[in-house]
C-alpha cells in the first residue's frame, strides 16, 4: 500500500497517544529503503513480483524486533516501541499484497500473506477498491490529525 504507510501509524497514534508519532512514522517507512535497487535498475525484471524491493530483511518482523534493542538503549522504551510498532505496520500492510512478505524470517524465507491486493504499482493506483480503502484511511487519519 502507498499512503497507508503514513495513515495507519497516524490512526494507531490516534488510539494510543502514549506512542511517539514521529518514531511511529520513521519505523513505518524504514522498510522502504530497500526500494533503491528497483529505482536504479536499468530494465524491469521479467516478473514485477521478483523485484528486490520488499524481499530484503527490512521487510521482516524480525528486523524490527532486533532493532528494538539498540533503539531502546539509545532513545528509551517509548521511542523503541513506537519504531517497532511502526515497522510492524509496514510489513503487515505490505503482506496483504499478492507477493506476501517473509513474515517468519529467519525461520523461513517463504513469502506469506492473504494475497488480497495487486503488487504491480500501475494496477494498484488505478484500482477502485484499493483507492476507496486508502481514501477511507486517509479521511480517518486526517480527522485524528485535525482534532
Amino acid at each position: 500500500m502507498i499512503l497507508a504507510h503514513v495513515t495507519v501509524p497516524v490512526i494507531i497514534y490516534g488510539f494510543f497517544p502514549q506512542l511517539d508519532l514521529l518514531a511511529l512514522l520513521i519505523g513505518a517507512n524504514l522498510s522502504s529503503f530497500d526500494a533503491l535497487p528497483t529505482l536504479i535498475r536499468r530494465k524491469p525484471p521479467e516478473k514485477p513480483i521478483e523485484e528486490t524491493h520488499a524481499a530484503t530483511v527490512l521487510h521482516t518482523l524480525f528486523f524490527f524486533l532486533v532493532l528494538f534493542v539498540p533503539v531502546y538503549f539509545l532513545f528509551g522504551f517509548r521511542i523503541a516501541l513506537s519504531v517497532s510498532v511502526g515497522g510492524f505496520t509496514h510489513v503487515l500492510i505490505d503482506a496483504l499484497d499478492e507477493k506476501g512478505r517473509m513474515l517468519l524470517y529467519p525461520l523461513s524465507r517463504k513469502f506469506y500473506g492473504p494475497r488480497l491486493f495487486t503488487y504491480d504499482f500501475w494496477t494498484y493506483v488505478t484500482d477502485k477498491k484499493i483507492f476507496l480503502l486508502e481514501f477511507t484511511l486517509f479521511l480517518i487519519s486526517c480527522a485524528f490529525l485535525i482534532l
Partner: protein, 71 residues
C-alpha cells in the same frame, strides 16, 4: 485485480497511462500533499527526519519518469 501472469506482461506507456488516469493521479497527489501539510502542522520541523532520507529516492524516481516520458 489481474493475475500475476497478466501483470508480468504489463509494460506501461507512461504518457498515455497518465492521460487515461489523471483523476486517480490527481487524487493520490492531493491526498499525499494534504497529509504532508497536516503532519508538518503537527510535527513542525521534526518532519524533516522523515522526509530528508527519502529525497534521493524522490529525485531518482522523478528523473526516471521524465526520461520515460521523453523516451
Amino acid at each position: 485485480m489481474g493475475s500475476a501472469k497478466f501483470l508480468c506482461m504489463l509494460r506501461v506507456a507512461l504518457k498515455e497511462w497518465g492521460r487515461r488516469n489523471w483523476k486517480y493521479i490527481g487524487s493520490w497527489i492531493a491526498m499525499g500533499l494534504i497529509l504532508l501539510g497536516l503532519l508538518i502542522r503537527k510535527l513542525g520541523a521534526d518532519i524533516l527526519f522523515l522526509i530528508v532520507p527519502f529525497l534521493p529516492y524522490l529525485l531518482i524516481s522523478l528523473a526516471r519518469l521524465v526520461k520515460e516520458v521523453k523516451g
